[in-house]
Amino acid sequence: MPEGGDLGKIPLDCVVYRAVKLINLKPDGTPQSGCFSDLADADGSKDYMSVYFADEMAANGVSVKDLAAHWGERYAIVEFTVADLVTEGEAVWRDPDGKFPGHGACKRADGLKRTVGQKRRIAKLARRSDA
């Protein structure tokens, strides 16, 4: 959806979760930059990065532990805030997927693919939330 996404409808201090593969964490527990890529799907309909919004998860009675269980043992959950993403030029929006409450999406507001530098900056902001 870019062009600001749902900015204004999602609190800037809302925590945003992202599931990343454990195998893509470095030994110190920090995620590699490549963990923060848009999905390269065939038809482009999901050409964004999947995230989960804590406020909507809470409203539906699920926690980050439930999210970790949903993704399974091959994944870790990291978190940042909506403000972190917006500061990095991201548009964020709610995008219910019918699989787990709070699903949302983000993408560069200009619609372009993230560069490795932009991925790196997001990776540096990410904190483990399930460790």
Partner: protein
């Protein structure tokens, strides 16, 4: 998809060929063959730089990246350009942290001392990038294509035992 380092002049096991390619021993020609099932799907990329690539490169291309590419989204051309970018690295360059991104890119990054060096290679060469950070500060991000020697030069400068930047 399978990837094999191969000799053009004598039949050897993949392991022997990969080892020889990594160490520069024997008569093995420095090539990496990337094969994919289907017609017109075999490509041989001749590594352009003289000398030997780091020892971890053949395994990274043969086994590690294909294993991480669960959805088989990475094309041979991306693997070839990744190989070309890394072939000129100093032999003592440590194996990078690596990943296959959801956006069909190969990522590799090194944390060496205060320096962070990352490359990204995708099916679309336009997304190939080289990124450098020193002491947590971004130094720059430039296209990787055409700057493979810059990557090698940076690595040579930041590896332990080198003069500091």
């Amino acid at each position: 998809m399978t990837i094999v380092a191969t000799s053009l002049d004598s039949p050897r096991s993949r392991q022997e060929v990969a080892q020889a390619a990594a160490t520069g021993s024997g008569t093995v020609t420095r090539s990496i063959r990337v094969t994919k099932p289907g017609k017109d799907a075999s490509v041989t990329a001749m590594l352009e730089e003289p000398g030997s690539p780091p020892a971890w490169l053949p395994k990274l291309l043969q086994e590690d990246f294909p294993e991480r590419d669960e959805h088989n989204v990475i094309g041979p051309s991306a693997l070839i350009r990744f190989a070309q970018a890394c072939a000129a690295l100093p032999l003592r360059t440590p194996q990078p942290f690596f990943n296959v991104g959801d956006d069909a890119t190969l990522g590799a990054e090194w944390d060496i001392g205060l320096c962070h060096v990352a490359i990204q290679v995708g099916n679309d060469p336009a997304v190939d990038m080289l990124y450098v950070e020193v002491n947590d500060r971004e130094i720059g991000e430039i296209p990787l294509n055409g700057n493979e020697r810059v990557l090698a030069s940076i690595m040579a400068k930041i590896l332990p035992g080198s003069l500091v930047l």
